[in-house]
């Protein structure tokens, strides 16, 4: 399984100027945010890799990391990118991979990353309607749950 799809992944990585890190269970493909859509489509078109398990957002300090986990057999292929907190914006992959719609909407709510082209862009999926617009997105490190509770007049 690994042998058949390792080569196309390397070719994809070289084409997009990315970096490939094979780990024990996960093959990481790190790319620039502008190349994410192409990378995800490239990975999803490889045999057996059409299943997008989920998309993870991670607070990396100055940046928000976004990881697209694809599953095949005994491994994950993860497309990894990061957007700066000062301009958290990326193109949505939901047009080509509809399974991404809700996962992107979740990251938009919890990390404040805008996904251009997602049906939920500018709308809310998870956060309450009265979540204060001036409060930081709740999963960011700088978000203080106590302060947000006070802003929402919950105590």
């Amino acid at each position: 399984m690994r042998r058949t799809s390792a080569d196309p992944l390397q070719r994809l990585s070289a084409k997009l100027g990315g970096a490939l890190h094979p780990e024990r269970r996960t093959t990481l493909l790190t790319v620039d945010p502008s190349k994410v859509e192409e990378a995800c489509l490239g990975v999803a078109s490889l045999p057996g890799l059409y299943h997008l398990s989920t998309i993870t957002g991670v607070d990396l300090g100055d940046q928000i990391g976004i990881l697209y986990h694809f599953w095949e057999g005994r491994r994950f292929v993860t497309v990894k990118t990061a957007v700066p907190k000062t301009a958290p914006r990326i193109r949505s992959v939901a047009g080509a991979l509809p399974a991404a719609t809700l996962y992107e909407a979740e990251i938009q709510d919890l990390f404040g990353v805008a996904f251009d082209g997602n049906p939920y862009a500018g709308k809310r999926l998870l956060l309450p309607d009265d979540y204060p617009a001036e409060a930081p997105p709740p999963m960011r490190k700088e978000a203080d749950p106590e302060k947000i509770r006070r802003m929402m007049k919950l105590e």
Binding site: S53, T54, G57, V58, P98, L126, L127, M139
Partner: protein, 411 residues
């Protein structure tokens, strides 16, 4: 409120109001103390559903954030509380994700015990679901039979782990205690009873008109839709795609106790009924096989309180499908980030596809058919933009409406 023109209503869900000529029915959310409230905006053309917009988060408690402030061990018990039905799936997914980041090997006995409890959990989860489908389709006798039988499985789980629901059993490096003496004979006896009952139910769901008329051809999904929307578990397998984490990416002792992947071609609720019952029978076989093959030895190894720096993605086959955990450690005593994707989240978009083209009367059965964590649709209000009229239906009333609707059609 009901007189306000549609355009003036505050909407935060995704693109809804372009559908104003048709009727719009907000569906949910239910009371937060109940199972899993979610909110579906159903756009109706007469009786027919043309569009569905989900809005979730009513019981989003920020568990992923809370986990970053608790120690690794405390997090196991926190994550178990995400789901009251598949709590063990959450704990083995998290513990195995963390174990995969450390050099410690889990003892063989613990791997087998995990299979035993995980499969017992699958049996009780599928039985719970079958009862709910019976209830929402107006077949309450089935509901009562099945839930009574399910108690036998819960008793077994309690006998092994000490708890019926939140088992607090799996931990880093193994399980918290050994199997009790003489459990093998008890399990074999109880599962023999379950197998007999399930064989009867399998016959029943395929022949009893109360169920067939409500489930055959209802909530159909195609293989193409499934490939596009990446649903998981029985919802994926009922379209004929035989993907199961237990066989494709075996964890615990699933490489030695192999499941038989159940598939079906029809992709409707009727096929889901048979498919899940087949899975129950297979799980019974696997529990007995695991108890026969189980090696002796330690059931736990000591595990350090900190986790080496790194990242791990791990998934297990929960009763509802692939349950995904992503764990990131900075080497400290608390996790840096834990991401959880539950099966219902992956199946939500597919469920909206299943609802399209169905009638309002089919909503309870189709939504229960996907086996979400919400069978308890509590408060439904119906809004008809044309007539500027709003009325409310409780979940029970909607159920009665569905039953009456089908009774009328049968004459």
């Amino acid at each position: 409120m009901s007189d306000a023109p549609a355009g003036d209503r505050k909407e935060t869900g995704a693109g809804l109001m372009q559908y104003s000529p048709e009727g719009m029915m907000p569906f949910g959310p239910v009371h937060p103390s109940l199972k899993e409230p979610e909110y579906f905006k159903l756009i109706l053309e007469g009786e027919k559903i043309v569009q569905v917009v989900p809005r979730i988060g009513y019981v989003h408690r920020g568990i992923e954030r809370a986990a970053q402030e608790r120690t690794w061990v405390k997090d196991i018990y926190l994550f178990e509380r995400i789901c009251g039905i598949c709590s063990f799936a959450h704990s083995i997914s998290f513990t195995q994700a963390v174990e995969s980041m450390s050099p410690f090997e889990v003892p063989d006995r613990a791997r087998y015990i995990r299979v035993v409890v995980a499969e017992l959990e699958r049996i009780h989860s599928h039985l719970l679901w079958l009862g709910l489908v019976g209830h929402w389709a107006g077949f309450d006798t089935l509901f009562m039979w099945v839930w009574k039988d399910r108690e036998h499985v819960l008793d077994l789980e309690e006998g092994i782990t000490g708890n019926r629901v939140h088992k607090s059993y799996s931990t880093f490096g193994g399980v918290r205690k050994d199997l009790p003496e003489g459990i093998g004979a008890k399990v074999t006896a109880e599962l023999g009873y379950i197998e007999k009952r399930v064989a009867y139910y399998k016959d029943l769901v395929q022949s009893e008109q109360t169920l067939t008329v409500r489930t055959r051809g209802v909530g159909r999904i195609s293989q193409d839709t499934a490939r596009k929307l990446s649903p998981v578990g029985p919802l994926l397998r009922c379209t004929g795609i035989g993907r199961d984490v237990r066989t494709e990416d075996p964890y615990a002792a699933y490489d030695e106790v192999r499941p038989e992947v159940q598939t079906s071609k029809d992709g409707d609720i009727a096929s889901l009924l048979v498919l899940r019952l087949n899975e129950v029978l297979d799980s019974c076989r696997m529990v007995k096989e695991a108890l026969e093959k189980i090696p002796s030895g330690p059931f736990k190894v000591p595990f350090p309180r900190t986790v080496p720096e790194g990242e791990a993605a791990f998934h297990v086959e929960a009763p509802r499908g692939e349950l995904f955990y992503f764990v990131k450690s900075a080497g400290g005593s608390v996790p840096e980030r834990v991401k959880i994707r539950t099966p219902t989240m992956a199946n939500l978009l597919t469920a909206t596809e299943m609802l399209k083209g169905q009638t309002l009367a089919d909503v309870p059965v189709v939504l229960t058919g996907m086996d979400p964590c919400f069978g308890c649709m509590d408060r439904v209000s119906v809004f008809d933009v044309d007539k500027s009229k709003e009325w409310s239906l409780s979940g029970e009333e909607l159920r009665d409406y569905g039953i009456e609707y089908y009774r009328g059609r049968r004459g």
